[in-house]
Structures are given as C-alpha cells and as structure tokens.
Symmetry: C2
Subunit: 213 residues, 2 copies
C-alpha cells in the first residue's frame, strides 16, 4: 500500500504546523519543504517532529554538495528521511547515503532536474538509495510540460522503490497506483485547498480504495 506524504512548501513554520495539524490523520509522512527549510532553517524539522512524534518527517534538503554534512544536520534535527539530488555528483550522493546508513534512517534520490528519469536512475542505482523520487518540479508544472507517462517502462527496469511528486490530484491516483509507488507526495492539492483536511481525506481514500482492474 502506498504511503501519503504532504509537502509543506511554505516559508513560515506556522503555516506548516497549521496544515499538518489539519491533515494529520490522513498523512503518513510530513515533509518540511525545501523553501521552508531555507527560510526558517532546519529547526522546522525539529518543531515538526516534536509536534508530530508518531509521524515520519521528511526533510526535503535537495542536497547538491556536502552530502554527509547536510544529511547529519537534518537527522540531528529529527528527520526520518532526507533527499539528495540525482543531479549532484556521485561523491555527494554517496556521502549522503553513507551518513543515512550510519544513522539507520532513509534517503530518497530526487530525480528533479533529470531530463530522463530512467536514464539517470539506471546510472546511479548501484548506489542503492532507499527510494528514487520521480518528480515534476513546481516550476515545470506551471508550464505544463512534463507528464508521468513512462512509469511503465521505468518500473519494469528499476527495482528500487519509488516516490512520486508533481502536482498530484485525486484523478491522478488511478493512473499511478498500478505502478505501486511507495510514497505519493501531494503538495498544492492539499495545502492550497479551502479545506485541507477534506482534500487530504479525498486523496487518502483514493489511494486506499484503489483496486487493480
């Protein structure tokens, strides 16, 4: 069964705490978004962990350098999962993975910016991350350029579990569930909703109720 992660892409911790409180019961993983970490600092991870101890906290660091240092910083603050960019050097990805193993936590290699998800995953799967993240960036979503087509080929070849992110709405759930994403990451549909709790519930139910045809 796929887990649901809410991406708290805010600039202020109070907005993040508000949405996390509202959607709490439908969410498996709470994400401290990249802009939130850069705006408020890694203490947002500490605050989220303190307030939602039973939830996994994902620190979306999108590491591009100093892999071990940034990974340790986030784990010290209470993160359960972190992200490193697939576009970082192999040395940086390796540093972040090694620190994750030392801490017995989890790491996602985020394919954001990779023009070919399958090609880049093929190149670096030997590094054995816990997950890849197939990711259409927020800026790309605005231009409506990329789609999730290609998931079938991707999952046929890449055996490492994957997360999926990028403007996901309830109607996308039946299109991606056949490929068994480990984590489905939803931002805007929940955090910009008039009723974020209902939006989270709708997505969660779409995931739970999905059945193979």
């Amino acid at each position: 069964m796929s887990l649901l992660q809410v991406a708290l892409d805010f600039l202020h911790i109070k907005d993040a705490l508000n949405i996390a409180s509202l959607t709490y019961q439908y969410i498996d993983i709470i994400e401290a978004g990249t802009p939130l970490i850069k705006s408020e600092g890694v203490r947002v991870v500490e605050t989220l962990k303190k307030n939602f101890q039973e939830k996994n906290i994902f620190a979306d660091l999108k590491i591009m350098d100093t892999g071990a240092l940034e990974a340790k910083m986030a784990f010290d603050a209470g993160a359960d999962l972190i992200s490193v960019c697939a576009q970082a050097s192999v040395e940086t990805i390796t540093g972040a993975i090694e620190e994750t193993r030392r801490q017995n936590k989890k790491i996602v290699i985020d394919l954001i910016g990779s023009r070919d998800w399958l090609y880049r995953s093929r190149e670096i799967q030997y590094l054995k991350p816990d997950f890849f993240c197939i990711h259409i960036s927020l800026d790309e979503q605005r231009k409506c350029k990329k789609t999730f087509s290609g998931l079938e080929n991707y999952t046929k070849e890449i055996q490492i579990p994957f997360c999926i992110a990028g403007g996901i709405k309830p109607e996308d759930i039946p299109l991606i569930m056949p490929f068994q994403p480990f984590i489905i990451i939803v931002g805007g549909y929940i955090i910009k909703a008039e009723k974020p709790d209902e939006a989270a519930k709708t997505i969660k139910e779409a995931i739970i109720n999905w059945k193979p045809q």
Copy 2:
C-alpha cells in the same frame, strides 16, 4: 580585476560572523553558504547584510525548484546575488532570473553537478544569467577527481562572465587569472586556516599582484 568572495560554509551564524569580521578588509563578496542557510534559515543573509553593509552578500541557495519564490526570499533578506543550479529545469532557472531582474540584483547559474561545464553552459546561455559558476563540489574535492583544466576552451566559447569555486588555494591563482574570472570564490583555504585574516590577505594579494606573462 577579479573579485574575491569568501564562502562561509558553516552551520552556525556565529562562526560565519567571526570569519567575516576577521577577513572583511580583503573580501569583496561575503557568501552565506548553502549549509548555513539550510541550518539557520535565510535570516543569516539579513544578519550578514546588517553587519557588513558595504559588502555584497551572496546567498548560495543552489535553487532546484520554485525559482522565483526562493529568489525573492533571499532578496527580501538583503541578498545582492543568489545562485540557481544549472541542473534545475529551464523553467526554474527562468523563474529565478526573472525575479532577479525585477529586483535589479544579480544571479549566478552554478554548474555544480554538471558533468560538462561547457556543454551545459552552451545549452542555457540564452537565458542570460549575470554569471556562470564553474564549480568543483566539496565532495568531489575530497576525492580529487575534477580539475579546472578546460578553462581555455570554456572561455573561448562562453561570453558570459564566470565565477570559479572549488578548493582554490594561492597556487591556483596564477593558473586561473589568465581566463579572467569575474569572481574567485574561496572557502576552506580561508575559513579553515589558523589565521583566516592572513589567508585572505595572501589570496587577495595573489589576485592583485598577478600579471600576464
């Protein structure tokens, strides 16, 4: 004449303020490093600007998504220059550049993670950043993999001014000066020195006293 930028790659603002105070007179641009921003939040930029008003402050955001949002966040905090990753999508780079133009500030496209600096610069130079940054990551430096060879070919073709970063020491200055970098970024050699002020002075003098053969 090339400008000297000190990269304050710390986790705590007090260390950054300490080195900035010590090296102040030799430095043209003060960089709030990526780990520092992620650790303490963008308020470090505000603190540096407040303490060193006559200096340019570079916020090393290494943006990978939400280009306009993160750019605005840093400029609001007082940054004069920011960075976006060359490995981000064109949409993200464009968003960051457009926000930079609105604010009448400067932007660097950081080539970190690009396996071929010239190839990637060629692809995206039409976006007209103020600078490219030729950058060997800290993690790559530890493995001694990359070098700055290729600067001659690069500068023959790419007309956009460039910054250069990656383990630069005094002995590297004569090797890079012939290619007229706009900004020389030095981290470890200064910030890890026993006497950071003397290290900064040594680099600054190497830049000032360099003469074409």
